[in-house]
Amino acid sequence: MSTETNTIEQLANKEYKYGFVTDVEQETIPKGLNEDVVRLISDKKGEPEWMLEWRLKAFRHWSSLERAQAEPRWANIKYGPIDYQNLRYYSAPKNRPKLNSLDEVDPEVRRTFEKLGIPLEEQKLLAGVAVDAVFDSVSVATTFKEKLRELGIIFCSFSEAVKEHPDLVRRYLGSVVPYTDNFFATLNSAVFSDGSFAYIPKGVRCPMELSTYFRINARETGQFERTLIIADEGAHVSYLEGCTAPMRDENQLHAAVVELVALDNATIKYSTIQNWYPGDKEGKGGIYNFVTKRGKCQGKNSKITWTQVETGAAITWKYPGCILQGDNSVGEFYSVAVTNNYQQADTGTKMIHLGKNTKSTVVSKGISAGHGQNSYRGLIKIQKNATGARNFSQCDSLLIGDKCGAHTFPYMEVKNSTAKIEHEASTSKIGEDQIFYCKQRGLSTEDAVNMIVNGFCKEVFRELPMEFAVEAQKLLSISLEGSVG
C-alpha cells in the first residue's frame, strides 16, 4: 500500500490551483462596522433612501443580536470567535468607468478570470453563457444583457437593479429571507455589497444558463453578496453560480444571501459549485462560508431545484431550502459535499411543506477524508394544511481514512396525517474489494477511487448543467487526491 500512498500523497500535495492575488488597486474603507460604515457603503453605491433605510434596520437588529451574543453556535462546526470590527466591509476595484465591451476591462482582472477559466472571453460567450462577473463586490462586466433584454429578461448586478428596477427589488427583497432571519443573513442585509438580480417575465423560458462567478480578492474583506431571482408565472430559468478564491492566511468571512421566488408554474434551477479556498493541509486559513439560501415556491405547480457541489471553504454552513407554499409545488435538493484535510461542513436543506400535494426530494452525498468533518442537517416540516405532502430523503456518507467524521442530523416534523415521509441514510467506506477489482483490471488506485467516488455522486452530478458537471468531477478528484492510502 505504501507506494500507492506516496503517489496519492503527491497528488494531495498539489497546491491550490486558484491561489493567486490579483494586483489591482482597490478602493476600500476602514475596518469595522457601525452605522456610518453602512451609510458609507450605501452612499458609495449611490443607493436610494429606502435601500439605506432597509440596511440600517438590518444593522440595528444585527447590533442587538451581536450584543446578545446570538451568533448561531448549534452547528456541528468549530471555529474561533470572529471579530466583526476587524473586517473591512467594502472593497471595489478603483476607478470604475462604465464599461461597454470587454476590452475596457482592466487587463489584470481579465487575466485573473482567464486563469480561473471563467468564460468571460468572446469564444466562451459563443458557448451561450451570460456572465455577470462579481469581482470583489462590484460587477465588472455583464455580458449578453442585450440578448436577454429582447426577451424582457432582466439580468444585472444587484446595485443596478436597485437603481433601475426599484419596484421589483422592493417587492421581493427580504420576502424569502427577511432581514431578521438569522445572524449572518442580518449582517448581510446591513452591508451587502453586490450580487446578481434576475427577473424572468411571464411565460418566458430563459434561452441560456445564467451564470455568475464570485471571487474574494482583497485581503480581509468579507464578501456579502445578495442574489435575488424572480421567475414570474410560467417562466423557466437555470442559474449557475461558481466560486473560487485565492489563497489567504487569515480566515475570510463570506456571508451571502440568495432569495428565489417562483410564481405559478414557474421553474427555477439553481446550481452552485463552491470552491472557496479550503485552508492549507494544517487547517490554516480558508474561507468561512456562512450562507443563507432559500427559495419560495409561491405559486401553484412551481418548482425549485437546488444543486450544489461543495468542495471548498474551511467551514461551510449552508442550508438551501424551499418553502413549498403553492399547491402541487416541488422542491428538490441535490448535494455533494466534500471535506478533506481540516475542512468542516454542516450543510443540508430545509423543506417546509405548506401547500397541498407538495413534494420534495433530498439527495445528499457527503464525502469525508483526512481530518474532515461532514454533517448533513436537514429539516422536513409538514404543516397542518399540507395535505398529501410527500418527501423522500437520502443521505449517504463516504468515509476515506480513519480520522474523518460523518454525521447526520435529519429532523422530521409532521403535523398532517396524510404525509408520507421517507428518510434513509447510510455510511460506508470504499471497499478494499472494490479497489482490488479495479486494480486487477489495470486501473491505478487513484483512478479507482475517482471512479468509485464519481459513481457515488452520480445522482447529483446528473442534475448539474453540462459544463458544470465536467468541472464538478474535476474538482472532486482534485479535492480528494491523497485521501486514500
Binding site: 428518510h423 441514510a425 467506506k429
Partner: protein, 445 residues
Amino acid sequence: MQSTNKDWYLASFEAFEKSLNGEMKSSFHGIRKEAIGRFAELGFPTTKNEEWKYTDVSPLTRLRFQPVLQYAGEGVSKKDIERFRLGIQDSHVLVCVNGHFSRELSAIGKIPAGVRLGGLAEEIRSGNQLVEQYLARKAKYENDSFTALSTAFLMDGIFVRVPDGVVVDRPIHVIFISQNQDTEVVVHPRTLVVAGKSSQAAFVESHVSLSSRPYFTNVVTEIVLGENAVVEYDKVQMDSTSAFHISTTHVYQERNSNFASNAITFGGLFVRNNITAVLDGEGSEATLNGLYLATGEQLVDNHTTIDHAKPHCPSHELYKGILAGKSRGVFNGKIFVRKEAQKTDAKQTNKNLVLSDEASIDTKPQLEIFADDVKCTHGATIGQLDDEALFYLRSRGVGLEKARDILIYAFASDVVDKIKVAEMRETLQAMLHDRLEQSRAFNKN
C-alpha cells in the same frame, strides 16, 4: 412568568435531608448533595436544549409534586399484584410501591446461590461493595436535570446481582405501583442490575397505577453487563393517563456481552424514555426495540443512544410508533461510532403511523461517525395505512374497521414479537387490541 418550581424541588430536598437522620453521614449522601447542587445549576431543560427541542417540560414543572419519604403499602393488596403480572405465571416478582421496595408484596421464588434480588435501600445501608462501585456511577447526572434530581432523592428501588456464570431461568418481574389518593406525588425509584461474567437473566419492568391523580415517576435504571453476560430488559409502561413518566436507562456492556431491550409504552400523559447503551467491549451487541401507542392528549418521547466505543460491535434498533387522537410522538435515535470502533455494524429504523389529523410526530435519527470501516444505516418513515392493503382486505370481505385493525396490529406486532418472554408476549398482543379499540373510541368522540 418563571414558575418552573425549581426552588420547590430544592426546598423539598432540605425536608428530605432532615428525614434521613443518621443516614446523612453515609458516604452515599455526598453523591446526593453533589447531584442536587448540579440540579440547582442546571434547572429544568427548555426547548432551547437540543435534547428537549420537541418536548416542553413546563406541564410537568408547573405542578408541585410531593416526595414520598416513607413506605406506605397499605392500599395495595396481593390481589392487585396478581392483576399486574402480565400473564407471566412463573416469575420472581419484586414490587415497589411509590418507589419503595415492599418485601410483603414481592414474591421471590427459589433462586440460584449467590443471586441477590431485593430492595436497594437495605443494600445501601449495609454498604454493599457493588452498590458503592456502580450506583449513580453509570447514569451520569452531570448534564441531565432529571437524572440529577433522581440521584439527589435516591432512597430505594431494586437491586439485582447475578454472579458470574449463573443463569436465572425465570424472568424477574419488577412492578412499580403508584398509589396516591390525596396528593400529587413524585417518586424517584432506582434499579441497579449487576450481571456478572457469563451470567444470564431476563427482566420485565412494568409501571402501573391504582389512582387517577397526577403523579410523576422519575425512574433511573443502571445495568452493568460483565463479559459474555446476556440480559434482556423489557419495559411495559401502563401508567394512568394523567401520569408523568420520565425514565432513564443506562446500560454498560463489557466484552462479548449481549443486551436486548423492548420498551412498550401504552400509558402516561407525558412520557419521556431515555435509553443509553455503551458498547465498551469488543464483540458486544445491543438491541433496542420500542413500540409506542399514543392517543388522546398523550405525549411520548423516546430518546435512544448507542455509543460504539470499541470495535466489532453490532447494534440493532427498531422503534415503531402509532399515533392517534391528539397525541404527539417524538423520536431521537443517536448512534455514535468512536474513533477506535472499527467494524461497527449499526442499524436503526424508526417507523411511524399517523392515524389522525390532530396527531403529530417529530423524528430525528442521528449518526455521528468518527471511524471509517463501519456500516451504519438509519431509516425513518412517517406514513399512513396502505390504501391498497386496505382495499385488498376489504375486497375479501373484511370490514373497514377490522381491516384497519389488522394492518395496525401487524405494524405493531413486529416489535411485540421480538419479546422473548412468551407469556407476556401473548398478554401484550391482547393489550394491543384493547388499546386500538380505545383509540378508535377516542377518535369517534
